[in-house]
Amino acid sequence: MIVTAPPHEPAIRIVGLKKRFGERIVLDEVSFDVAAGEVVALLGASGAGKTTLFRCLTRLAQSDGGQVFLGEHAMRALDRRQLSRARSEVGLIFQQFNLIRRLSALDNVLVGRLGSVPTWRVMLRRFPHRDRQLALAALDRVGMLPYALQRADSLSGGQQQRVAIARALAQCSRFVLADEPVASLDPEAARSVLTILRDIARERMIAVLVSLHQIEFARQFADRVIGLRAGRIVADRPAALLAEADHRMIFAT
């Protein structure tokens, strides 16, 4: 196995992560790093353990061994309060976007500010000027400023996913975890979403881990590709060196 040295100090470090569902081993000693500013694509067939891995990283699922470091946070050692703080630095992007349908794009981006705004302000929907500016800038960055006041459920899939990225930006995330962010998008929308993800990783030195199942997208937008098969890492290469053999290895049944 070729392991490339990360270009910078690792931002996300996964060490020997294990997860079992009953007898079945879903994650088997998974270890890899993602550097700040780096985009790592996680490739694998359905059922390979990608989603479980994501859920274990944010502790939405309890892992059975190993450790996850998000920056200085040793995720498996945190108490509730610390966990909530650590999670507030993680921007999550989902296949189904998870926007609040009846709220405007701007209101959805402001969700990224919920963690740092006092409760009474949230209840009255009176966000400080600074937070509103931050949200508008984030919308502008993903090219959605003209749609700021449009309801989320009136936007196309690609537009909704860009709003979701803006939400992660407004959150000032240091890490972005994107679980199949383009699986329900057409190729053109998928490309625009992945371009934005790659560019924000560079601009803001965000560590981006993105799961995909199209190898072409991984090759085109990621710096490095991790192949996951039946809970094990079967490939870890710079995206440019990804070979046809890897494809067969990752997706073989």
Binding site: T58, L60, S84, R85, R87, S88, V90, L92, F94, Q96, N98, L99, I100, R101, R102, L103, D107, V111, G112, L114, G115, S116, T119, V122, M123, R125, R167, Q171
Partner: protein, 270 residues
């Protein structure tokens, strides 16, 4: 081997069902007929008596014409009182339901230990009709619309909280989870992510309950708990049919108008 023979090896799941079909049909028929037989026996169902009573009904109907419009202003006032009882009663219901439905919605309840008791409490409120509550309150706070308002409030608190918590449980969990993971506390998630999503639904449910409460307020007067039902009962007691006819007309107009108005509002909400 012919094709027919080669295809004959499958166990046919339909065969046993087809064989027992007549038996199951007869059993179902006996069961349904049994329930009807018992029910008719218990309610003392008697078409002959209905036939005998028809001339009396016709006689009354004839005597009811023309409707008595002397007291139209008083009766209208009572109709307004009826609607007002529904407004205040439903509001009391909402005030009680709001905290209860947070405990009784599976995706909001702060503790599993509170969930079941909250559900039981709401079932009890829902299981006792406004009419029964009103009877108790007439005894406690005296005759008049106030007793009726309390009765409506308690009963609809149960119904509103149940329907609300069901609407809340049906909400997509994804966006709420996404909001919670940004580091927002429970109160922020409810206020910012959940409420805007469910508010139209909750309002629609509340309007529906109000509409329902207008209808039930019309009869609360029968137990002395205010509203136009009180006038209705007086007229029946005095066999004053022209007045009774006017009251029934007023109720019809009022209930229809409220139903239409509420339906229109609810259409605009969702």
């Amino acid at each position: 081997m012919t094709e027919r023979e080669s295809a004959a090896g499958y166990p046919d799941p339909w065969r046993s069902r087809i064989r027992t079909a007549p038996l199951r049909f007869v059993a179902t028929l006996v069961f349904v007929l049994g329930i009807y037989g018992l029910s008719l026996y218990f309610v003392d169902f008697d078409l002959v008596r209905l036939w005998g009573g028809l001339p009396r009904l016709a006689h009354w109907a004839a005597k009811a014409w023309p409707p008595d419009t002397h007291e139209l202003s008083i009766l209208s006032e009572r109709a307004i009182e009826t609607v007002a009882m529904a407004v205040v009663g439903t509001t009391i219901g909402v005030v009680i339901a709001a905290p209860c439905c947070i405990l009784a919605a599976r995706n909001l309840t702060p503790s599993r230990l509170l969930y079941a008791p909250a559900r039981w409490f709401l079932s009890i409120l829902r299981g006792i009709d406004s009419f029964v509550f009103a009877l108790l309150f007439v005894a406690a706070v005296g005759l008049g619309p106030f007793a009726g308002v309390l009765g409506i409030g308690l009963h609809s608190a149960g119904s509103i909280a149940k329907l609300w918590s069901e609407a809340i449980e049906a909400v997509e969990p994804g966006p709420l989870e996404a909001a919670a993971l940004t580091g927002a506390n429970r109160l922020k998630v409810i206020a910012y992510a959940l409420l805007p999503d469910v508010l139209p639904n909750l309002s629609s449910i509340t309007l529906y309950m109000w509409e329902f409460n207008v209808r039930s307020s019309t009869v609360l007067g029968v137990v002395g708990a205010g509203g136009i039902g009180q006038e209705l009962k007086n007229s029946v007691d005095l066999l004053d049919f022209p007045r009774l006819f006017t009251i029934i007309l007023i109720i019809l107009v009022m209930v229809t108008a409220i139903d239409q108005f509420s339906a229109w509002l609810r259409r605009r909400l969702v």
